[in-house]
């Protein structure tokens, strides 16, 4: 309920904000037209959409997964930039709508940009850079990545970011303060005690989460990027038994893309490891019949994925050039002592055909634990 109300609040405030911006923009563009069409205020409506078919080859055959995510970009002046994405998804007959991000950036100088609003968490690379279905090389997210996974996916707060060249190398950084995650005590959802809830528009305590990411691109051709991210927050409700509970999460990521002559094509490697550590707390045991028994655990979870893709982009034959093969391995490690402790791993193999630079047909085979799955997806940005 709280989530719905807070979501509504943001959506309305953004509506009001965009309406005002729209008015301003209309005025701006009129003024600009008067100034001989040299308008600086610029809109762009883009986004992406995906259609997924999934089957296990036996009982399940689902064609009902449709995703549509419009994105509004607006540049009212040289140094101000606004971006917003609405994510809508029709899944098993239910329509999910989410405000993926809505934030405004002010470019202070060459090296520093200030951002405020709801932004994709700069925590590793998956959520921020790879999750959009026309970018993701497989139809699914790696195990535990994405919404409600291990590690934050978006934050509401303020951030400073930028990119700095250093000789033949360059670095990029972002630091932020945000509402941060909240602890799920399992009272409403038994079995989820100790997990974190993200994307909170209303904070449950006075403390702000702080975090950031540093990326290093050591080579002048930008082929390799190594990144490290952290976030620290108090996650318990103020004035509850959980008010001292904290969470520390960290992530390491690697990205490598290069045309390799002797392979006649492009190699693309992406990897990320997320670790989450929620301090020890007592939770109500969901398996205790009296409903009052407590158990304690240290919520240490981690997830890892590694992905390698190859596209023979240097071949002369056009049809072959557009194919791409992908392999991904991902692991979800659950903490010791949690109820239903079972680590899971997943293998995904994919074959993609790129119709254009932004439209792709993906076919994938996936094995999660012992379960096999086949997926077919069409994804495009527009």
């Amino acid at each position: 309920m709280k989530k719905i109300i807070s979501l509504l609040l943001i959506v309305t405030s953004i509506n009001i904000a965009t309406a005002q911006q729209y008015n301003n923009a209309a005025k701006d563009s009129m003024q600009a037209q008067q100034k001989s069409n040299s308008s600086l205020s610029r809109f762009l409506l883009t986004g992406y959409t995906a259609l997924t078919v999934e089957t296990d080859g036996k009982e399940k055959f689902n064609m009902g997964q449709v995703q549509f995510s419009p994105i509004l970009l607006w540049k009212p002046s040289k140094n101000i930039f606004f971006e917003a994405e609405l994510e809508t998804e029709l899944n098993a007959g239910a329509l999910d709508i989410g405000l993926e991000y809505a934030d405004i950036s002010y470019i202070i100088n060459k090296y520093i940009t200030l951002r405020a609003g709801k932004f994709l968490a700069p925590f590793g690379i998956y959520q921020d850079r790879l999750h959009a279905s026309w970018i993701n090389k497989l139809p699914t997210a790696p195990l535990g990545f994405g919404h409600d996974g291990v590690g934050t996916s978006s934050e509401i707060g303020i951030a400073l970011s930028g990119g700095i060249p250093i000789g033949p190398s360059k670095i990029n950084y972002i630091i932020y303060a945000s509402n941060g995650p909240q602890l799920n005590t399992g009272k409403e959802e038994p079995g989820e005690e100790g997990m974190l809830m993200y994307e909170n528009a209303l904070d449950n305590n006075f403390n702000k989460a702080v975090g950031g990411r540093l990326g290093i691109l050591p080579f002048s051709n930008s082929s390799l990027e190594l990144g490290g991210s952290v976030q620290y927050a108090k996650v318990g409700d103020k004035a509850s038994d959980y008010d001292k509970v904290t969470s520390l999460m960290y992530s390491f990521d690697l990205s490598f893309t290069q045309q390799v002559g002797f392979l006649k094509g492009m190699i693309d490697v992406k990897a990320q490891m997320n670790g989450l550590n929620v301090s020890k707390a007592d939770y109500i045991d969901p398996y205790d019949s009296t409903g009052t028994g407590l158990y304690t655990y240290d919520n240490k979870r981690s997830i890892i994925f590694g992905q390698v893709a190859y596209r023979p982009s240097m071949l002369k034959i056009k049809v072959l050039k557009n194919f791409e093969g992908v392999f991904r391995y991902s692991i979800l490690n659950l903490p010791e002592g949690v109820k239903e402790n079972e680590d899971v791993s997943q293998i995904a193999l994919g074959l993609n055909y790129w119709i254009t630079w932004r439209s792709v047909i993906k076919f994938a085979y996936q094995k999660t634990g012992g379960k096999e799955n086949y997926l077919l997806q069409f994804a495009t940005s527009f």
Partner: protein, 91 residues
Amino acid sequence: MYMKKIIITSLMIGLIIASSVLQQGCTVTKITERGGAQLWSENCTRCHSTPPPNVYSDEQWDVISTHMRVRAAMTNDETEKIIEFIKSANK
């Protein structure tokens, strides 16, 4: 079990990276000495397929380049050189 697979995979990735670094040899040019076309072909592909210049108008590119600068934390100089190249190729 996991550890072994992870180590093998990382070793393979390490090898690919090492070999391509060797390929680069000693011809390291500073980013500041690279032209817009080169920066365009090297940078955009880090995250997604590189869009050809003619799919958007100059005005649209202006918005997109700011989006990418902010989202991908590209440096100011890189972004400016790339957009200049795109606009010159977009005729």
